[in-house]
C-alpha cells in the first residue's frame, strides 16, 4: 500500500541583492517522503515552486561540504539532515550564520578562502630532499598526531557556530586554525615557526573563548575547538622559548 503523501512547510530566508533591502522569510509547502533530506526539500522548491531560489550543493553525501545551512538555527549539512525529523512542525532554513549573504542560502566565503591561504596549508619541507632519497616515511603514531585534524571538508559549519567569529571577522577561526595545526603536527613539515606567527597574532587563537559549539556541529568529528585550544598552550610555549633560545620560537 503506498504511503500517504505528507506535506511539510519549509520557511526559507530569501534575499535578492538586486531587489531586496533586507532578507525576508518565505514559506513553501513541500510534499515529502521519509527518505528526503532538507537539501532535497529545497531542491523540490527550486524545481517545482520557485526557480529563483539559490543554494549550493554537490555531492549530497556529506563529503563536499558545500550544502551547509542554518536549519532551525543550527549549523547543519542539509544533505544529511532529514525532513522527517521536523515533521509535522515547520522547518526554518537560513544561510550559514556569521557570513554575508550573497543571495538566498548562498554565503560569501571570500574571507575564509583568504584565511585558508594565509595558514600555508601545504607541507613546507624541513630540508630540501632529492628524488634519490626516496619517499618520506611516517609511523602510525606520527600519522595519528594529525589525522583527525585532516578530515575537514571546509563546510564552514564551525564558523557559523562561533560567536567570536561573528563578532570579529578577522579571527582566523576554527577550521583554518585546525588545518594550520594539522600541518604543524606533521612529521614531514618544517613550517611551524612561520605559522606560529599567525597563531600568536591579534587575529589568532586568543580570540577563542572556548565556547566549544564548533566541535559540536562539525560533521567530520574534527574537533576544531581542540586544535585551537592546544595552540593557546603552544603559543605560550613559543613566547617563552624566545627568551631561552634566541633562535628557537618565532620573532
Amino acid at each position: 500500500m503506498p504511503e500517504q503523501q505528507k506535506t511539510i512547510e519549509i520557511e526559507v530566508l530569501r534575499y535578492n541583492p538586486e531587489t531586496d533591502q533586507v532578507p525576508y522569510a518565505q514559506v513553501f509547502a513541500v510534499p515529502f517522503t521519509d527518505d528526503m533530506s532538507v537539501l532535497q526539500g529545497v531542491q523540490y522548491i527550486k524545481d517545482y515552486l520557485d526557480g529563483s531560489l539559490s543554494f549550493r550543493w554537490s555531492c549530497r553525501m556529506a563529503i563536499c561540504g558545500s550544502c551547509g545551512m542554518m536549519i532551525n538555527g543550527e549549523p547543519s549539512l542539509s544533505c544529511q539532515t532529514f525532513l522527517r525529523d521536523y515533521y509535522p512542525e515547520r522547518v526554518r532554513v537560513e544561510a550559514l550564520a556569521h557570513f554575508p549573504i550573497e543571495r538566498d542560502l548562498v554565503i560569501n566565503m571570500e574571507g575564509f578562502i583568504e584565511k585558508l591561504e594565509s595558514i600555508q596549508p601545504y607541507i613546507i619541507p624541513k630540508e630540501a630532499r632529492t628524488l634519490a632519497q626516496g619517499e618520506y616515511l611516517q609511523t602510525p603514531a606520527q600519522l595519528n598526531a594529525y589525522e583527525q585534524f585532516s578530515s575537514c571538508i571546509n563546510c564552514l559549519l564551525c564558523y557559523a557556530a562561533c560567536p567570536q567569529f561573528g563578532l570579529n571577522k578577522d579571527f582566523v577561526g576554527p577550521a583554518a586554525l585546525t588545518l594550520l595545526h594539522r600541518y604543524n603536527m606533521d612529521s614531514r613539515d618544517g613550517g611551524q615557526a612561520e605559522r606560529m606567527q599567525l597563531v600568536n597574532a591579534e587575529e589568532g587563537v586568543f580570540n577563542c573563548t572556548a565556547v566549544g559549539y564548533c566541535s559540536e556541529v562539525c560533521p567530520k568529528h574534527v574537533d576544531p575547538a581542540n586544535a585551537v585550544n592546544l595552540n593557546k598552550t603552544n603559543s605560550a610555549m613559543d613566547y617563552f622559548l624566545r627568551f631561552l633560545a634566541p633562535k628557537g620560537g618565532t620573532k
Binding site: P17, G73, P100, I101, G166, A210, G212, E216, D223, N226
Partner: protein, 132 residues
C-alpha cells in the same frame, strides 16, 4: 556594474539564539560567584588581621540569613560552573592515551568532577574536624 550587495546580518542578541550559547553565557556568568566568594574569604582574612572584635563581627555577619542565602546561591552557581568547566575540558587538552587507547571525553569530564568532589569532601571533613 556588479549587482553584488552581500548582506551582513546583525549580531545583536546572538547569545539568545541558541541554547548552547545560553549555557555558555550562564557558565561565564557564574564565574562572578566564584570571584564574589573569594572576596568574602579575603575580607575575613582582613578582619582577622584587625583583631578579635573585628573577626567576631565577621563571623556574626556570616550567620545572617542574607549571608546564608548568598552562600547557598554561590554553592549552586559554583557547582554549575564546575560542571560546565569539566564538560569543556576534554576539548582543551591534548589527547590522553591510556593503554594505547585514547581516553573518551566522558571519562575526562567524569574524572575531573570526581576529583573536584573528592577535594571538596576532604576539605569539608578537615575544616569540620578543626572547627569542633
Amino acid at each position: 556594474m556588479s549587482k553584488r550587495r552581500p548582506y551582513v546580518r546583525p549580531m545583536d542578541g546572538w547569545w539568545r539564539k541558541n541554547p548552547y550559547f545560553v549555557e555558555y553565557m550562564i557558565h561565564e556568568g557564574t564565574a562572578l560567584f566564584v570571584a564574589a566568594y573569594a572576596a568574602v574569604l579575603l575580607f575575613g582574612l582582613l578582619r582577622l588581621a584587625q583583631g578579635e572584635a573585628a573577626w567576631n563581627g565577621w563571623l556574626l555577619a556570616l550567620k545572617s540569613p542574607w549571608s546564608i542565602g548568598f552562600h547557598l546561591l554561590a554553592l549552586a552557581a559554583i557547582g554549575y560552573h564546575a560542571y560546565t568547566w569539566f564538560k569543556i575540558m576534554p576539548r582543551t587538552m591534548p589527547p590522553l592515551v591510556v593503554g594505547g587507547k585514547r581516553l573518551p571525553a566522558w571519562a575526562i569530564t567524569g574524572g575531573g568532577l570526581a576529583a573536584a568532589g573528592a577535594a571538596s569532601l576532604l576539605l569539608f571533613v578537615l575544616v569540620w574536624g578543626l572547627a569542633r
